[in-house]
Symmetry: C2
Subunit: 215 residues, 2 copies
């Protein structure tokens, strides 16, 4: 999560109100993430983004020294939205199958709700950058994918510890399968526009988890 921590590396004193600069930075990144899911993160030109947020190109350049810096900050902003929609809501529930179900439901709702106009930000960006070796954006996106798979895996393990998923299940295998179902639904919805794919994914996730119910 390098990009996220870089973004907060300024010497901001605690409890200070957000400055205009910080507010507009947040607004710029929100628009940048939206645009990136439609036009690609690499297609995100400073000129196009300046027009979308109603700023001059030089004003935008004051916020981001380079295109790569803008791309990494955009990923960090998109990651915060993903966490707000998918990771955080189920945190208050007790560890176990119910929390895993809620998490998977929130994930599908995040796709359904079209939080980003071009589908999941991370799905859009991962295929854009997956064939570029030694690229900083690619490394950050790969790390985000590892984080999400690891997160699912830990949730499965906690449900096993709570006695709500059979101990014989290999958490990484089940995490792979659940992730595949959600990602495929997002991609098919983006390309074919048929919302029924979310029900297909939900049905498959439920059947898969019922199968490993220890009771």
């Amino acid at each position: 999560m390098d990009a996220a921590s870089n973004e907060h590396s300024g010497s901001r004193p605690p409890r200070r109100q957000r400055s205009d600069g910080e507010r507009s930075r947040a607004a710029i990144l929100r628009e940048a993430a939206r645009l990136a899911t439609v036009e690609g993160l690499d297609g995100l030109s400073l000129a196009r983004l300046a027009a979308a947020v109603g700023m001059s190109k030089s004003g935008l350049f004051a916020h981001f020294g380079s295109k790569e810096e803008l791309q990494l900050a955009t990923i960090a902003a998109a990651r915060r939205r993903f966490v707000d929609h998918v990771v955080r809501p189920s945190r208050g529930l007790p560890r176990g199958r119910g929390r895993l179900d809620a998490l998977l439901g929130d994930w599908l709702d995040y796709f359904r709700g079209e939080v980003f106009p071009g589908g999941c930000f991370f799905d859009s960006v991962k295929s854009e950058f997956d064939s570029r070796p030694d690229n900083a954006v690619r490394e950050v996106v790969a790390e985000d994918m590892r984080q999400f798979l690891g997160f699912l895996e830990r949730e499965i393990r906690k449900a096993q510890e709570a006695g709500e998923i059979a101990a014989s299940v290999e958490p990484a295998q089940l995490a792979f399968e659940l992730d595949a179902l959600g990602s495929a639904a997002n991609q098919q919805f983006q390309l074919l526009g048929d919302r029924a794919v979310f029900d297909r994914a939900a049905t498959a996730m439920r059947s898969r988890l019922d199968l490993v119910d220890p009771e």
Copy 2:
């Protein structure tokens, strides 16, 4: 499959030898499909492609009147390679579970073998174009995705008719799940470089199909 039929719409008499022009067209499209999986189909410039195949830009322009024409011909060429690697090999087997297993195995081998350097051509292109309404490339790619899902669905139905998959299974649901597993393996391999994902996909496909074995 409009692009494929367009490509053969010339008035070529039967049994004539391929001309130099046709040979180089095939070589150009082979290279174009390779490049597109790495740099994107939209990033495929005539200049870049001309350099890669050792032709002049104007020589290349003689083959393809526009960038969109080049893109659609590239998709058609990639589709022929996909058919050769994934669709055709199992055609000789009797309809049923064995043929479906062979087909899924060939699909994973096509990913494993890195037929295209940037992973499955269609996976690369679908996220690139999925957010562009009224785009001819997008329509062709969407149709290809429908075709592949429909193909899996028909194979499942044939296995049901052969009494080798339980009649209670909904073919479209199972096709969605099998497609999700293969696509996810390809994408994770592209981004994370870990070949173990293909074994994860194969394991999941086998378990899923064993579960609907009528015996």
